[in-house]
């Protein structure tokens, strides 16, 4: 298959996954902010930091209240990580690879983008936000399922899988970062609040139920962290996503030695992490390191399979909200 097409499929999947995860994040965050007492050190600003786009945010906003932050996360077409940008980019990428994706794939992504644009111009930011975000998550999942169920699982699909899982691993590390927030509260109260915070982290990844089923304990930060980082069966756990990527590489992609070695190294790093120690100190730094490694993995994928110089136009397309 064409290198250029492989790259666009990979980005289609990444952006779709990013859109879904951004919706999850905002949805759960809003819920959490309602539920957690004020004055314990949680605020909307942290959401901006997690998304990694704080520089752009600070340039355009003075206050980081709910209104600004949610608009920024969902509707700001200048924010490269916003929901609408992600959907627009997914649409552009799938639009230019239509010859390899089942026609319905394009139709659904196109419709989803138009739906989001229309809703975000209306009440989706305030009144109907919960329903809106739930629908976004559901429709992203539908598209993921559609591609899984109708695309031949040849090389083209492997690039979709790689993109999806790399993005998923990255977003899970960001969600874990939510849990690494330092809460301000007296001893007993602190433990209770921390447990609650991690429950939200689990929820944001639809992981609460699976956690209960597999861990069979009440929510406890160390165990949640171990589950989200090291569980090899839960689809949104970092270890699982890395395993998927390794299997894609090994499966049908040519010249896979180097990327395969890199992902195995990352898997080891995650598997050998001492969760208890990390929780006590250095979790945020560890997460940073993981994100950096995931970035390196992307570079390697790009150098191995997409190497021919890409036309920049695709990645520069601006999406009007």
């Amino acid at each position: 298959m064409l290198s250029r097409v492989a790259e666009r499929l990979y980005w289609t999947a990444r952006y779709l996954e990013r859109a879904e995860n951004t919706a999850r994040l905002v949805k759960v965050y809003a819920y959490m902010m309602l539920d957690m007492p004020s004055g314990i050190g949680l605020n909307w600003r942290q959401l901006v930091d997690i998304s990694g786009a704080h520089e752009y945010f600070d340039k355009h906003h003075r206050s980081s209240g709910e209104r600004n932050v949610t608009r920024f996360m969902l509707a700001d077409s200048g924010n490269p990580g916003s929901l609408i940008t992600s959907l627009g980019m997914a649409r552009e990428n799938i639009r230019t690879t239509r010859d390899l994706v089942p026609a319905e794939g394009w139709e659904h992504v196109n419709e989803l983008y138009m739906f989001a644009r229309k809703k975000l111009a209306g009440k989706a930011l305030v009144k109907d936000r919960y329903e809106f975000l739930s629908e976004i998550v559901m429709r992203c999942q539908q598209i993921t399922g559609l591609l899984a169920g109708t695309m031949s699982h040849g090389p083209a699909y492997q690039f979709v899988r790689v993109g999806r899982n790399l993005e998923r691993a990255d977003m899970t590390t960001r969600m874990i970062d939510v849990g690494s927030a330092t809460l301000i509260a007296p001893g007993v109260e602190l433990e209770r609040l921390e447990n609650r915070l991690w429950t939200y982290v689990l929820r944001s990844l639809s992981a609460h139920q699976m956690y209960r089923q597999y861990v069979r304990r009440r929510v406890q930060p160390d165990r949640v962290l171990a589950f989200l980082l090291q569980d090899t069966d839960f689809p949104r756990a970092v270890a699982h996503a890395l395993g998927e990527i390794a299997s894609c590489f090994g499966n049908q992609l040519p010249h896979n030695e180097e990327p395969l070695r890199a992902v195995l190294r990352l898997q080891r790093l995650v598997a050998e992490a001492d969760v208890e120690k990390l929780r006590a100190a250095g979790l945020h730094e560890f997460i940073d390191q993981l994100q950096l490694e995931l970035g390196n993995l992307h570079q390697l994928i790009s150098a191995t399979w997409f190497a021919h110089e890409m036309d920049e136009t695709i990645t520069r397309v601006s999406v009007s909200a």
Partner: protein, 483 residues
């Protein structure tokens, strides 16, 4: 918006659906009756369903003049345009005849130039044409066919005569809309397809594939066929990707291809370089190869012409084929048909004046208000003057243009294009239209059943181009079983 054929009046124009108010034509009788039985609400609901289907299918085109990449959905009218099978068969014959002669003409021009030596077409017309590419002289593409895909524009005048308005032999577009229009109509009027014998159109991609495969320089069961697009900002990008998808061919951009030291063309894949046999290129001649043509082109592939001349890759259409869709050459097509086939043209040309000829030019300049003036080398309705609708200033501008460069212009009487009933807001009104059938030629020739009907949605307008406010209709070739 209930349809009442008695009150639908196309006036002086030939209408495709009715012969006079209240009297549908034979082939259209059943559908006219059916439409009349629909309530206003039902009709509105179906048009709405069609609009939704089109938006959903992502059927779009992009407009050049807009800086940002804005996709517009293609305006579609649900009332089909009906043509009787018997009339169509004759048109089909005429198109095959025309295409055959044009290909013989192009091959002759780049090789022996007999037609010039015999003085049937003036030599200076060819040597002075921008579209005649000296780089192609002496080339012998397979079957001696240069124009493999042609979209000819047909129009019908007041008296019912069908004319060829122009031949598009470069990169004609619109065929995907023909196919999608049918898909939409089947969703909107499924019951009609059960009851009537309507010729299918959706086999076009497989005919296209077979034609392209027949051009392959390597005798393989599965030649590597690619569709080459200028990219997503091209107005016809939707079509390029549609056709690639339908044929199971790779959709490539110039940057995906490279010509090796062996003068073969390769595409860049995740596994390395892979040889390409046939390129259905939708990039204009001047941009396909910066080595042979425009140096500043970023859409093309360096060395492509070299590879083609070496016979290592087939290009459809072949470079240089556009020489035959020059508007001045057009005026010679009846003579060209006579010369190569010794036959009279089955479908007539629109009577045309060559501005190059002094007498004809004087007539044109004196009668601009009733004529349509066309530049020799533009398509898409750009750069033309519709005399009856133009202002004095616009006409003056053309007087100067023609005087400065007479070779570049022809003029034709403004035809009274035929009309067909079209939903316009709450009413059904007559709107002018044309028809673009598509012809495929290699060792065999194939003509689409009907083609793309383009309709000028603005009242009274004669401009049907999608880039200038046109829309489209599904086209039905209906077999009534009788003469």
């Amino acid at each position: 918006m209930e349809i009442e054929w008695k009150s639908y009046d196309p006036g002086e124009f030939y209408d495709e659906m009715i012969s006079s108010p209240g009297n549908p034509r034979r082939a259209a009788r059943a559908i006219a009756g059916y439409l009349q039985r629909l309530s206003a609400k039902q009709l509105g609901r179906r048009q709405h369903a069609a609009d939704l289907a089109i938006a959903e299918m992502g059927v779009t085109f992009t407009v050049y003049s807009e800086g940002t990449n804005i996709d517009r959905t293609w305006p579609f009218d649900i009332i089909p345009r009906i043509i009787a099978q018997k009339e169509w068969s004759r048109i089909e014959e005429g198109l095959v005849q025309r295409m055959t002669a044009l290909n013989m003409f192009i091959h002759d021009l780049y090789n022996e130039q007999k037609i010039l030596k015999d003085g049937v077409v003036p030599e200076k017309l060819i040597t002075g044409s921008k579209s005649f590419l000296p780089q192609c002289i002496g080339a012998t593409p397979r079957y001696n066919v240069w124009a493999h895909i042609c979209g000819s524009d047909l129009v019908r005048d007041k008296d019912g005569t069908v004319y060829v308005l122009e031949d598009n032999l470069r990169v004609p577009s619109g065929v995907s809309y023909m196919i999608e229009n049918r898909a939409v109509t089947k969703r909107v009027f499924p019951e009609l397809f059960r009851k009537h014998r309507i010729q299918p159109v959706d086999d076009y991609p497989s005919h296209l594939f077979d034609m392209l495969a027949s051009l392959s320089p390597r005798p393989l069961d599965y030649p590597e066929i690619v569709v080459m697009t200028p990219g997503i900002y091209n107005s016809a990008y939707f079509e390029h990707s549609f056709l690639a998808q339908q044929m199971g061919a790779e959709l490539v951009e110039g940057s995906d291809l490279v010509v090796g030291d062996d003068d073969c063309v390769y595409m860049k894949t995740i596994a390395g370089l892979q040889r390409v046999d046939v390129i259905y290129r939708r990039v204009n001649d001047e941009f396909i190869d910066p080595e042979a043509f425009r140096e500043d082109s970023v859409l093309g592939v360096r060395g492509l012409l070299r590879a083609w001349r070496a016979g290592n890759v087939a290009l459809a259409n072949a470079p240089g084929a556009g020489v035959a869709d020059d508007k001045v050459i057009y005026t010679y097509v009846p003579a060209i048909i006579k010369y190569y086939l010794d036959q009279d043209a089955i479908i007539p040309n629109v009577p045309s004046y060559r501005c190059e000829d002094r007498e004809q030019r004087e007539y044109v300049l004196a009668n601009l208000a009733t004529l349509v003036v066309k530049p020799a080398n533009e398509s898409g309705g750009y750069g033309m003057l519709v005399g009856p609708h133009a202002t004095a200033v616009e006409r003056n501008k053309f007087v100067n243009l023609i005087k400065r460069n007479p070779r570049n212009y022809i003029a034709q009487p403004a035809l009274s294009l035929s009309t067909a009933p079209t939903i316009c807001g709450q009413h059904v009104e007559p709107r002018h239209l044309d028809l673009r059938p598509f012809i495929l030629q290699s060792d065999r020739t194939y003509v689409t059943a009907g083609g793309l009907t383009r309709v000028a949605l603005r009242k009274g307008s004669l401009v049907v181009n999608s880039s200038q406010g046109g829309g489209s209709k599904d086209t039905w070739i209906v077999d009534t079983g009788a003469g």
